[in-house]
């Protein structure tokens, strides 16, 4: 048996999608025309699956800041944060994030994935327990697996189920970390954070909230779900990313605990990877300023989200529980998802097709994510494309 034999099932699945001209994995964007448009197979396609919530990837000020940083500091740091990879910009961004969130300390990581990997594998040790929402992102699961804590899942957004599990741990006399997401990336639903915070206090647990999809999207000033629900002081750790609302790549963890700084020394994922390049740091710092100074971007995003959600709901598509900039159509099976996905692409619309096991409850999803850079006409166009495919429902 060869080392690639175990991939045969995947190869067959890929072949089946390719035969139907619905190979959705690794679609090549031949040209990027704007924050919302690309060229795929020579055709102009509207992006409705990009996580570019505030549409800042082509922002003039961000591009200028990135270009200046490249001119001044070069294309990369060629080293770890722990060695030669911490420049003044990395430290400044950490301070700016601490000030933005009103927290005591922040660590910047090379990606959002690494932020979760580093925090979850390092914060909790042997005999300690991580209680994570079943629908948490793969980076959270991977971070937990990389560490040595006991990992227990609770039912998605079910505070009652979480309490049962906290109750079972009551006599263990150990540290417990609850992990949830602000906005869940697949269905766009929100954590039941008020109830979870109440449990956290009652059982003396710690709480980490991944605001990757809610930064810039929720809260009066864009700090995420914890801000929106008024529970920021009860969240011990907030993890986030630069690759969505901030239009670049990178991640961070910010905390009310000064001691979070020690994680730098104990985390393999922080020490053994190259740091974020100067241009990324510079554009992210600028994007963070814009996020704060232009709330109209968030308002525009929400207008789009409400409009498309209501239109698709009216057309009879099975959606997530509430409007959000992530709007997912839940399909009966992968075949139905592939048919609609292909139809959308033929109509010039790209959405993410997400299949089990990457989806909650084993469903097949067509995941739209909207941007403040979309025009109202483009949102109409996305709705029209779905409307032309209702025969597949």
């Amino acid at each position: 048996m060869g080392i690639f034999d175990k991939f045969q099932k995947l190869a067959e699945t890929r072949r089946a999608f390719r035969e139907k001209d619905t190979e959705f994995f690794n679609v090549v964007m031949e040209e990027v025309v704007s924050p919302t448009e690309v060229i795929i197979k020579g055709r102009r396609v509207l992006l409705a699956g990009g996580n570019n919530y505030l549409g800042l990837t082509f922002n003039d000020e961000c591009i200028r800041a990135a270009c200046n940083a490249i001119q001044k500091e070069g294309t990369g740091t060629t080293g770890s944060r722990a060695a030669n990879g911490t420049l003044a910009g990395h430290v400044a961004l950490e301070q700016e994030l601490s000030a933005f969130f009103g927290k005591r300390k922040t660590i910047v990581f090379s990606t959002g994935y690494i932020a979760n990997l580093a925090m979850l594998s390092t914060l909790m040790g042997p005999e300690e327990v991580i209680l994570l929402d079943a629908d948490c992102h793969a980076s959270i699961y991977d971070g937990c697996r990389m560490g040595r804590a006991e990992i227990i899942r609770f039912r998605h957004n079910d505070a009652g189920d979480l309490e049962k599990r906290l109750q079972r741990l009551k006599n263990r006399n150990t540290n417990v970390l609850i992990v949830v997401e602000g906005l869940y990336s697949m269905l766009g639903d929100r954590a039941a954070l008020v109830d979870i915070v109440e449990l956290k206090h009652r059982y003396g647990a710690y709480l980490l909230v991944d605001e990757a999809h809610s930064l810039g999207v929720l809260g009066e000033t864009g700090r995420g779900l914890a801000e929106e629900l008024g529970v920021e002081d009860s969240v011990d750790f907030i993890v986030g990313t630069f690759s969505k609302s901030l239009g670049a790549i990178g991640g961070f963890c910010t905390s009310i605990h000064q001691e979070i700084d020690l994680v730098r020394y104990g985390s393999r994922a922080y020490v053994f990877t190259a740091s974020t390049s100067p241009s990324i740091i510079a554009s992210t710092r600028m994007a963070l300023k814009i996020l704060q100074s232009k709330p109209e971007l968030r308002h525009r995003l929400w207008n789009h989200a409400n409009s498309l959600y209501n239109r698709l709901k009216g057309l009879g598509f099975n959606l997530g529980p509430m409007p959000s900039p992530i709007i997912s159509v839940q399909c009966k099976d992968p075949e139905q998802a592939a048919d609609i996905w292909k139809g959308l692409l033929e109509n010039g619309i790209y959405v993410n097709m997400v299949l089990p096991p990457a989806t909650p409850g084993g469903t097949s999803l067509l995941r739209c994510s909207l941007s403040a850079a979309h025009t109202s006409e483009q949102i109409e166009q996305i709705g029209d494309a779905f409307a032309s495919l209702t025969q597949f429902i």
Partner: protein, 83 residues
């Protein structure tokens, strides 16, 4: 009937819907090779076991479970509070 026998009976009842072609499931049945249990189905089964026995099953131990008997042994340990 001892406690372990009771556990195996209840776990076999949970696994019954996953039987392939009506084949009998036994303690030696391999969950992946014989029942094609994937990660999504595995989580469904774990949740049912947790509810039935009022336990939390750490996902760290899932890699130690290959057969029905492994599942019974780990469940027994968790009920006894040895884990």
């Amino acid at each position: 009937m001892n406690e372990k026998d009771t556990i195996i009976e209840q776990i076999l009842a949970i696994l019954k819907p996953f039987s392939v072609d009506g084949n009998k499931i036994t303690a030696e049945t391999d969950l992946v090779a014989d029942l094609s249990i994937d990660s999504v189905k595995a989580m469904e089964i774990i949740v049912k076991i947790e509810d039935l026995f009022d336990i939390s099953v750490p996902i760290n131990i899932l890699s130690d479970i290959q057969t029905v008997d492994d599942l019974v042994v780990q469940t027994h340990k968790l009920i006894a509070g040895d884990n």
